[in-house]
Symmetry: C2
Subunit: 419 residues, 2 copies
């Protein structure tokens, strides 16, 4: 099945907006065994739109088009499709009904020009829009089955799942191939080292293809399998996933695409433990990440973002002598901060960061990218110093925060194992 | 000048990677008056690549192609260009020299297969890569002048500025048109209200085109002007920008595309003032935003992320009677938190948030999306309650944090004006 994707809109053509819809559609089609061969994007120009629809109609079995279905004058996709199909635009009763229902349900008056959205090329079938007023439609032009969807990503994704994916699956009949994947999330190794460690996976599991993806600061090992026997493919993926996890050991923090803060949150919840954080150089990012997870108030009690030295003393009760003797960026200070946070929160764990995110604040022995991380547990308090070479404030903050969360994760995993 | 962009690579074709290069190139070409008419993306397939290059060669005056210039077997762009141009691949002496120089400078041995990158279609001119080993090249196929660049965004952008933009400008000769724009950043109005307020700008300034862009939670009013007289265009843009700013009043927080946290930071610095924050529902996000700005330690001293009630008492000294009487989410509590933060930090201002980001924690009179924001100044302490209807934890956190920063901004602006 030869498939293509077309994105429309002036904002995409001129580069004001990055088109994320096409990647989303390509991935979902790939999931059901349809390989997208080409992506195209054009602006809101009737001529250009009709032209490219005609080209796609001659090349493809299936195509998904996004954008240009709204009520305004620059929404031209239906008119362009009609021109490419040499069909008239007619008022589609099902489309009109769904638009009217939208306004009735919300008790809002319907603007007359909204009706324009019910004008579809003759021969097309309306695709119901459960979230907005612009219906999609399905239309065969030449040899190609087109699906036209709105461009708003949230609406597009919903209608892709509701209409396009099921209809394409039913078109595939018995020919359906499965394209499955598994993601192993890794922290603390570079992309190239990760690649070397797991390069053999396709030798051990000949049906598995390997892909690597850097999602700063984590590395994702992607395992792909395709074929007709879904159960067999899942087994192969599981086995290959285990093999990769054994290779990479404790650098693996998730085999379900969870972010680090969710993994740490689950471990804390399972251990019936809690954490308080003391942040200097991470500036609140650790707290922000932890509280992005719903229900985090069960285990996250507080973070003291003590950016100034004075606040390290007044809030965390770090002894002034420590700051005088060792400075703000030091293992001893990180330990005192972690203990201060643990005490202040009355929590199981205290986690602390102090370092230099840059661009200023560096000294010869403490260059930009230096961070000391303290961890206070019920048994002991430890601290480690790291240095990262990014020379970028936001990358440093992110790396410092992830490193701190990873240290807490390792501690929780070792506690869970009875270490 | 008819221009197109082609992105290549399996990760883009299959949707694993969202193509951001094409939007960046389209914007830069637009800046110098070249309108991109179409974007295309295909995978690493020699046949498909040569095919699409041939199509573009027949349609365009200028095209920029990204990706597929690396040393591995799936880097096929040079071979596809040679096929489309019906030319041989030959070793380009300039390309080889620049690759060898890269390794000599870094004192690293050169892998022999790296040499593949010096194989360019006969008739092309090498484009020097200052950051990596893959050189780009320039080649005329049919009637189209192609620029081939590496796909790594950082490298692509550098080579676009170094080679492509200057060469296209020189191609334009005296015909050069300027495409300028100005961005007014707005917070606290919906996109449609903003649009209504400024819709007349093109009536008052006929050379100005208006665009609106929602960058949650802010709205950007974009003003565009194009023509041959750069100075005149800049004057028109400035005047239209002022007109828009007067229309929207204090909802405008920047006319230079600065983020809110940078605007607030500059105002604090100018006022020689400092701030301490107390965060409940924003979970550290305010501190994280403020400390994203380099040099923020000059005015940001601390944030107490007091997620639990106990920590509101122990860290911020919020009286327990207030929590008992009014609950955690209340104006009175927000005021006590703001005063607690100001006291703890010894700062000019104290800013506090307490609310319900969801999905849980709601009560009948305090639904998800409720937030109380307290602001303690040298003169007084005030608090306001807001309710937002997003039903999404991360959107709520973002909106709460921006609303709090905006309240502080308004206070600083009124102080600056001697209010």
């Amino acid at each position: 099945m030869y498939a293509e994707i077309l994105a429309t809109g002036e904002e995409i053509r001129t580069g004001i907006l990055i088109d994320s819809n096409s990647a989303c559609i390509a991935q979902r089609l790939q999931d059901i065994g349809v390989e997208v061969q080409r992506h195209t994007a054009v602006g809101d120009d009737l001529e250009a739109l009709a032209q490219v629809l005609g080209e796609i109609a001659r090349r493809c079995d299936v195509a998904v088009v996004t954008g240009g279905l709204g009520p305004t004058a620059d929404d031209l996709t239906a008119a362009a499709a009609a021109r490419a199909a040499e069909a008239r635009l007619i008022c589609d009763p099902a489309a009109l009904q769904s638009i009217e229902a939208f306004f009735v349900e919300r008790n809002r008056p319907m603007n007359p020009f909204i009706r324009k959205q019910a004008l579809l090329p003759e021969g097309s079938a309306c695709l119901f829009n459960p979230v907005g007023t612009a219906p999609g439609f399905r239309l065969i032009i030449d040899r190609c089955r087109f699906f036209f969807l709105p461009g708003v990503p949230l609406v597009m994704r919903r209608m892709l799942e509701d209409h396009v994916i099921p209809q394409i699956i039913s078109l595939q009949g018995n020919e359906r191939r499965f394209y499955l994947s598994k993601t192993i999330s890794v922290f603390g190794l570079t992309e190239s080292v990760t690649g070397e460690q797991v390069a053999d996976v396709s030798a051990v599991f000949p049906e598995i293809q390997l892909g690597l993806r850097a999602r700063f600061p984590e590395i994702q090992v992607k395992l792909y399998a395709s074929g007709v026997d879904e159960i067999h493919l899942r087994e192969q993926l599981e086995a290959a996933g285990l093999w990769v996890t054994q290779r990479l050991g404790d650098k693996v923090f998730s085999d379900r695409e969870e972010p680090m803060e969710e993994v740490v949150g689950s471990l804390l919840r399972n251990a019936k433990a809690s954490v308080a954080v003391a942040e200097s150089c991470t500036g609140g990012l650790i707290a922000d990440l932890l509280t992005d997870v719903a229900g985090s108030s069960d285990y996250f009690l507080l973070s003291a973002v003590t950016y100034s030295n004075a606040s390290k003393v007044s809030v965390l009760h770090v002894p002034e002598t420590i700051l005088k003797t060792f400075g703000a960026v030091h293992e001893t200070t990180a330990k005192a901060m972690a203990e201060g946070a643990r005490q202040l929160g009355g929590t199981t764990f205290g986690l602390a960061t102090t370092g230099i995110a840059g661009p200023s604040g560096a000294t010869p022995d403490k260059p930009v990218g230096t961070v000391c991380i303290g961890l206070a547990t019920p048994r002991e308090t430890t601290a480690r110093r790291f240095h990262f070479n990014y020379q970028d404030r936001l990358m440093n903050k992110k790396m410092f925060a992830m490193t701190a969360l990873d240290l807490l994760r390792r501690e929780l995993v070792s506690v869970e194992r009875g270490g």
